[in-house]
């Protein structure tokens, strides 16, 4: 057990993948000498050389497009997109190629790409640096989408993502990079992708379930503590995987609590909460005491940072939704 920050844990996980598999190459803008703008790749080019940790020209479509070619050649590229808002120039290569190549070739060509994306707001950044684009990718068949919320998961999940023979969009909650947690980096952590897509119940509760992922997991845990003080018992689920979603775990919880609130920073309209509400309602129709409620970013472009505190779901907004599910207005 070592205590480390989420960013450092992902760095340690990446180091493991580079040590384990000579076919793993890291690609991205400023990931070499600089170690990435968030230092997640710090020291890796120094230790593995510029052929394993590659600074690319400033072109996201080029990064993903060449990573595809490297994958065809048998490599296992791990691409860093510097900020969430810069992934869109690569959208075509991700949606039309990365997602489809395995299906197109009936499995002949594997696409074991990992695309790392620091995402979400809360760091007081300028425009395009605080987006939550995960739903675009979760709506794209052929891709897998996950998000880690803590150091232990950051260390384990990045290794599982890289080990997966399918393309994985790996969303890292940038505002949590500095939050510390215990990481079991002693043993050779299993990089079997098996558990990558399982949700986890972080707090057991009885009155209502709060499901979320990435940056809002810490917020949901804080909400659960506050609620507990007020005598409300919340069950908190960290989804971890956004595509596929572990509906089994959510449904089991909802059948117990009868109430569900889903929270994410992405706009509510067609955000992950929509799919979860639709499917859980279908599966738990006769168990739900009140409709599934969603707490998310508003359906406006990400605002100037002085406004993000109002845009982003916080403990109060989550608890407000919980209150509503507990006392539904007919």
């Amino acid at each position: 057990m070592t205590t480390m920050a989420l960013g450092k844990a992902i760095n340690a996980g990446l180091r493991r993948t580079l040590e384990r598999d000579p076919k793993v190459v890291l690609m991205g803008e400023d990931i070499g000498k600089l170690g990435g703008v968030f230092r997640v790749t710090e020291g890796l080019q120094r230790d593995f050389g510029p052929k394993r940790v590659i600074d690319t020209p400033l072109a996201e479509s080029g990064i993903i497009g060449t990573a595809i070619g490297l994958a065809v050649r048998g490599y296992r590229p791990v691409c860093e997109i510097q900020f969430d808002g810069f992934i869109y120039p690569a959208f075509d290569q991700i949606v039309s190629q990365v997602a489809k190549l395995h299906y197109r070739t009936q499995g002949k060509v594997k696409m074991p790409l990992t695309i790392r994306v620091p995402f979400g707001g809360g760091i007081g950044a300028v425009e395009h640096h605080s987006e939550s684009p995960e739903a675009y990718f979760a709506h794209t068949p052929g891709l897998r989408v996950v998000s880690c919320s803590n150091a232990a998961d950051g260390f384990a999940m990045i290794q599982q993502a890289v080990a997966s023979d399918d393309p994985v969009l790996f969303f890292e909650p940038k505002r949590r990079y500095w939050e510390k947690g215990d990481v079991d980096d002693s043993a050779e952590t299993a990089s079997d992708p098996g558990t990558l897509h399982q949700a986890r119940v972080l707090v057991a509760g009885t009155d209502a379930t709060v499901a979320t992922y990435g940056p809002l997991v810490a917020t949901a845990l804080a909400a659960a503590r506050t609620a507990a003080e007020e005598g409300t018992s919340l069950e908190v689920i960290d989804l971890r995987s956004l595509s596929p979603i572990d509906f089994e775990t959510i449904a089991t919880s909802v059948k117990k609590t009868g109430r569900l609130v889903v929270a994410h920073e992405a706009p509510v309209f067609l955000g992950l909460g929509a799919e979860i509400a639709a499917r859980i309602t279908e599966r738990c129709f006769f168990h739900l005491e009140s409709p599934v409620l969603r707490v998310g970013g508003f359906d406006v472009p990400y605002p100037a940072s002085k406004l993000e505190q109002y845009f982003l779901p916080d403990v109060d907004r989550i608890l407000h939704a919980v209150d509503q599910t507990l006392a539904p207005v007919p």
Binding site: S61, A67, G69, R144
Partner: protein
């Protein structure tokens, strides 16, 4: 009958000096009347191409044209949903493909049936894509060639990345990307040229400038030559008469040699013409004149080699009937293969979406299976 049948393989020999040859204007080795062009620095690169090799190139040109004609006919008869004819571009495709080694890798566009033939792909399998029976008719690894890429320009980045992998492996092979004149406007082509130059990747950018992008003339895409575009990215670029199979072979060998020698990327602009429609759904009469088409007909790539063979006395009746027979056989096999296509099973919809188990796909497959089973019992 595929191109893998015994026939001289034109494996490039390393030139003494693989530095980029520079020539002004079009590289041409065979003139329209069949006489050889004198004094081109590229002639040496095909000095090994004797009578047998010339005949074999001609055979491929004829067979490839026949495949194209038969496929077009099958589309008209409703056996294919669509077909993108290569008529007029046979020399550009056969000349470049015959320069490749087995361990080179082709990233093609959607019109490279001639390249696929030279790589050994069974023509009937080429058609399965256009029939709508599959999303790709062959295993890219078996032939060192990807299946049709529809998104214009995307494949150039894949070729560049693959070439970066070749360099990382310290192998001496090359990747080649095929694309058209219209594709040069896509950001992905520019990014590919930039990445290839920066990483000195062993990739050949083979642009078939067939003068048209559906209804748009090449001048709408660029006010300069495509070779100048390549040079702008620091990629040595050559313009070749795309209807001259020998010139294309020579120029492609040169580009490949530079790649094998670790000297980085080369761009080749093969100047040719799309004699037919963009696809079987297109009507070129709406946007181009019969005169223009007529002007290009005299530059026909098959007539060119035929004339050369005549001039050099290599075109006897026996060879001609042998070639015709080979073409007939290919066409016949192609047609039978197409008509014998086994269509995919409904449940194959869910196959190979992912390499590893996926809960959502599994449940949808199960539900769909139940749903279809329901029909057998009591049809709705």
């Amino acid at each position: 009958m595929t191109a893998t049948d015994a026939r001289p393989v034109l494996a490039p020999r390393m030139a003494k000096d693989s530095a980029a040859l520079r020539v002004d204007g079009l590289v041409q080795l065979i003139q329209i009347d069949g006489r050889r062009t004198e004094g081109s620095p590229f002639a040496e690169l095909v000095a090994d191409v004797g009578p047998d090799e010339l005949r074999s190139l001609y055979r491929d040109l004829v067979i490839v044209r026949r495949i194209d004609a038969e496929a077009t006919a099958l589309q008209r008869q409703g056996e294919l949903g669509l077909w993108a004819p290569l008529l007029g571009q046979e020399a550009a495709q056969v000349g470049s493909a015959r320069a490749l080694r087995r361990d080179d890798f082709v990233f093609s566009s959607y019109r490279e049936h001639g390249v696929a033939y030279c790589r050994g792909v069974d023509p009937a399998n080429m058609l399965r894509f256009w029939r709508g029976s599959t999303l790709s008719g062959w295993d890219p690894y078996e032939f060192g060639m990807t299946t049709p890429a529809i998104i214009v320009g995307s494949q150039a980045l894949h070729a560049t990345g693959y070439a970066m992998g070749i360099a990382l492996d310290e192998a001496d092979s090359a990747a080649i990307a095929y694309f058209g004149d219209g594709a040069t406007s896509q950001g992905d082509i520019s990014e590919a040229l930039g990445f290839a130059a920066s990483f000195e990747a062993p990739v050949v950018f083979f642009c078939q400038n067939n003068q048209w992008a559906i209804s748009e003339p090449v001048r709408l895409q660029a006010h300069t030559s495509i070779t100048q575009r390549g040079e702008g990215f620091g990629v040595p670029s050559l313009q070749v008469d795309g209807n001259d199979v020998l010139a294309v072979l020579a120029v492609t060998r040169h580009a490949l040699q530079r790649a094998y020698a670790g000297l980085g990327p080369t761009l080749i602009e093969a100047v040719t013409y799309r004699m037919g429609p963009h696809t079987t759904s297109d009507d070129p009469s709406r946007y181009r004149s019969a005169e223009e088409v007529a002007e290009w007909r005299v530059k026909d790539p098959l007539a060119r080699v035929r004339a050369l063979l005549e001039v050099e006395g290599l075109l006897d009746a026996a060879f001609q009937s042998e070639v015709d027979a080979a073409a007939d056989l290919t066409a016949d096999t192609l047609r039978r293969g197409c008509l014998a296509t086994v269509e995919p099973e409904p449940l194959s919809l869910f196959d190979q979406v992912y390499a590893e188990p996926h809960s959502l796909i599994a449940s949808e497959r199960a539900q769909f299976a139940d749903y279809r089973a329901g029909f057998d019992e009591q049809p709705t």
